[in-house]
Symmetry: none
Subunit: 145 residues, 2 copies
DNA sequence: CCTAATATGCCAAAATATGACAAAATCTGC
DNA sequence: GCAGATTTTGTCATATTTTGGCATATTAGG
């Protein structure tokens, strides 16, 4: 499982190394160092390819020209990109993503079970108090645990 | 699968190069660099010829005189045109398309699984927030995933 | 404090995007 | 149908970006 936080620096051309702990999980549990990163709200979301493909398989069966399908797929897939970790465990984050999420010098990797997020460090810092408030609020709605 | 966004510039006479990632997919998965482009909402829609033919096969089975069929097919097929990528991986976008979609300096390629869209960059930028709103809304209607 | 693992800076090589221009094709008016 | 104008196409050159590999700095673990 992906867990915890790691701060890494990102080079001018968008290259960043994935935390060793995450790399190890990809190797052992998923037997593949290919991941899909996708842009959501204020961060990138990274999935091992296997997990992501399950999702895509379902999407491909949706009626292709229905408005809801187009809106959904355009956003989700249009903001996704496949990354192969290189021999040093690094990936490249495209200029579009970096611009949209305002990635500057450092990024924060946040492990969340079967996926992990990548934040610009400043945005992550800003979201910290808000994150705690949201966590507090969420507790009333999590009935299953 | 086509995924992600790429910004390219388009020459005065409508020539533009297809993102390398897309070209590679055409070469490997589809073994053909022929694509069909047609008009869509505010963008062009591009299919590898194989995928387009699947679409046509389905269209042929639609009830031919139903108003919706005629409207759908007239627009989609009537606006379709075949493009062969040249040795540098470029295609030409006809003056009609460029005029209709107001293609200026830069265009954005948006990968969506078996097809990709081509937007004028300004229009894409304008549609960004709207796109996210639509995505949020669509999530309620996508029950299958 | 030492060692091993990890992260990252650096540079050269490869790939990619795109501008330029001439040749070929197409269109236009006569 | 023909001559000239315009557009499209093919090829090359080049700027830019991406990639691969190595070297060094940094961190974590014992």
């Amino acid at each position: 499982m992906f867990r915890g936080q790691y701060v890494h620096s990102i080079s001018d051309n968008g290259r960043v190394s994935i935390p060793a702990k995450f790399r190890e999980l990809l190797n052992t549990k998923y037997s593949s160092t290919t991941i899909i990163i996708s842009m959501f709200e204020n961060c990138l979301l990274a999935y091992p390819i296997v997990e992501w493909e399950k999702l895509e398989a379902k999407m491909i069966d949706l009626p292709s020209f229905k408005k809801e399908t187009v809106d959904f797929e355009r956003y989700l897939i249009g903001n996704a990109s496949e990354c192969q970790l290189d021999s040093e465990g690094r990936i490249n984050i495209s200029p579009v993503f970096r611009k949209n999420l305002n990635f500057k010098k450092s990024v924060v990797f946040v492990g969340i079970l079967t996926r992990f997020e990548i934040w610009d460090q400043k945005s992550w810092q800003k979201n910290k108090e808000l994150g705690f408030k949201k966590f507090q609020k969420s507790r009333d709605h999590i009935d299953e645990i």
